[in-house]
Symmetry: C2
DNA sequence: ATCTTGAGCGCAATCGTTCGTGCTAAGTGA
DNA sequence: TCACTTAGCACGAACGATTGCGCTCAAGAT
């Protein structure tokens, strides 16, 4: 079925290389217009499709990039990945995706697998703050972009959200509403997102002279169930919080679910604020107040930065920090009057 | 950096082919144990990584499959895709994903691109009921599995949900609750899912002698916004429905949002039922009654069927129809007493 | 009439692997 | 001792494309 250049050459009575030149319309070498048309017609007639593997073997460029994603079934990463694919597809690149479930062994296997497949570069959304494998990659000067999470200290090839100012904004907003007992449902401290948002939370409290209460710092997961359990834990406190800032929308949704089940009314009894603004998740009732992040655009930017590296442009000097903006909706409100 | 077989051969003083045999530990040919160890050590020392492109070129098997997905940022497809990747990864296959946004031109470009990259097979979650490109592929005997949606008539290589019995179950459940004015927020009729669920809806009504009212059949999109607008349209009716069966959870969530905004209380004023049971979507308040579908397992099964084809097993005679089960939660209730 | 020039194409090496075939030496049986 | 097997490896042709180089021949220059 699949015709090759060689066969086309035989059919046209010319050397395969000549066919190659017309297919790729080689700018340097020239082929007579008549022959050119004849070959084009022949290629069309036989439905010639170039074998990209062979081409890549020869040119040493696969036009494929690898993406390491914690879990594509997480809508956050799905949307981000969509951004990656959109940006790559229109430039004739393809993506191979591997899920890691935040398991470093799976991550490393993913990296070797992708390199064996000769990907031109990697986009890693899986980096831990101290990630040997990733640091190794960077040291080798292998083309890499760190997406969403970065290693410490933040390298220039990172594309991440403004975690610190974002969580600072969220907490200060809650303080402005009169809240004093503000909890944080945190993400894993091994990831820059979890770590930095936690840091922003603490610094915001400190700036406003609100003493830090370790009981109000709970969690350690980025998922719905984690938020649910963390909220349950918060509700057992003798003085429960009046507001909670969750590390992301998923955890926020889980927290709202737990609060609802405990008979609390949001935002009357409890204010909840999330992070990311995922459309499928933030449309809870009441609608979630959250920090909006251009998730799709982040994916796009990561892909573009990677492609820029591949085109040999000198590496970026600074990481891309994407702005987050507070979207006030219905899950937050003034602090309830203290009981007497 | 990257060492090749040839270089390893030179270093070990043997022919590259010998190195190849020990790397792939060729079962037929034999290499002396001592040489074998020496080569293995050398490969390890230089961090040899096989070039999979070269291998594929030679063996004519890329161990890559292509997946055509309408939109990976849709949590339904994301979860399904996760199933695909899980099943493939553990068998040393990788996936290249392309989004089509249900645009047939993009679909066809996707197919050619994937074939140029020499994928061993394709999983298509994008098939329309009358899809020339897909039918062409099947006619060519190119290894293909149709996932979620199938062409008409349903081919043996399809892995799809029990759309008909599912929607029949949903509507009969609503009828059992006393509902008579039951609306359907439908999906596109070009897709088997939209078409078949619509058919089940109509047949269920007919079986129970409920006259079909064209005003109650609305929509045509699978997305949240579509459900929202369809519900708004239903609310303008002089006699609005007391129950709505949505083609999927996303549309159901949109419908609930519209109903809420119109001041209706679910399930008291309106019952809503979805399809798919997506964890991130179905956790609305009230929790969505829906038809549960083993979405992840569907992806897994599609991948397994494709691999079975690749291993030359005789094609399946029958399509895989995955069972759906009604999960009754809080968004459905008895029909409100007719006003007097 | 000879030289130059360049258009138009062919040649062959190469990318990194795989694998059928063939060669050599040591071991076996009669 | 002599064919004969077999273990252990080398050889080289693929796979399908790319690309620098070189060849040929007609047209223009001198």
């Amino acid at each position: 079925m699949a015709v090759t250049l060689k066969e086309l050459g035989r059919l046209a009575g010319v050397h395969p290389s000549t066919v190659a030149r017309v297919i790729n319309d080689d700018p340097h070498q020239r082929v007579s217009e008549e022959l050119r048309q004849r070959i084009l017609a022949l290629a069309d007639e036989h439905g010639y499709q170039p074998n990209r593997l062979a081409r890549s073997l020869r040119t040493k460029r696969s036009n494929v990039i690898g993406a390491l994603i914690p879990d594509i079934s997480n809508p956050f990463f799905a949307l981000m990945f969509r951004g990656i694919e959109d940006a790559l597809a229109e430039r004739d690149y393809s993506v191979i995706l591997a899920n890691t479930d935040d398991d470093s062994a799976r991550g490393e296997r993913g990296i070797t697998m992708l390199r064996e497949r000769q990907v031109d570069g990697l986009i890693l959304a899986t980096a831990r703050r101290h990630d040997r494998a990733v640091q190794q990659l960077i040291a080798e000067h292998f083309p890499v972009v760190l997406l969403n999470r970065h290693t410490d200290p933040i390298p220039p090839n990172a594309v991440v959200p403004a975690d610190y100012t974002g969580s600072m904004t969220a907490v200060e907003y809650l303080i402005g509403l009169g809240h004093q007992r503000i909890a944080h449902i945190a993400g894993s401290d091994e990831m820059s997102t979890g770590h930095t948002r936690r840091q922003g939370y603490r610094d915001a409290l400190e700036r406003h002279r609100i003493p830090f209460d370790p009981d109000l710092l709970v969690g350690g997961s980025f998922r719905d169930q984690g938020g649910y359990e963390a909220m349950q834990q918060l509700l057992t406190l003798s003085i429960p919080p009046t507001a909670v800032f969750a590390v992301n929308d998923l955890a926020a949704a889980g927290a709202m679910r737990a609060a609802n089940e405990a008979g609390m009314v949001i935002p009357h009894d409890l204010s909840v604020i999330g992070f990311n603004d995922l459309s499928t998740v933030a449309q809870t009732t009441p609608r979630l107040t959250t920090l909006h992040l251009p998730v799709h655009a982040m994916g796009v930017k990561a892909a573009e930065r990677l492609l820029a590296q591949l085109l040999g442009e000198r590496g970026f000097v600074e990481p891309a920090i994407l702005p987050v903006t507070l979207y006030v909706r219905d899950s937050t409100g003034p602090a309830p009057a203290p009981r007497e």
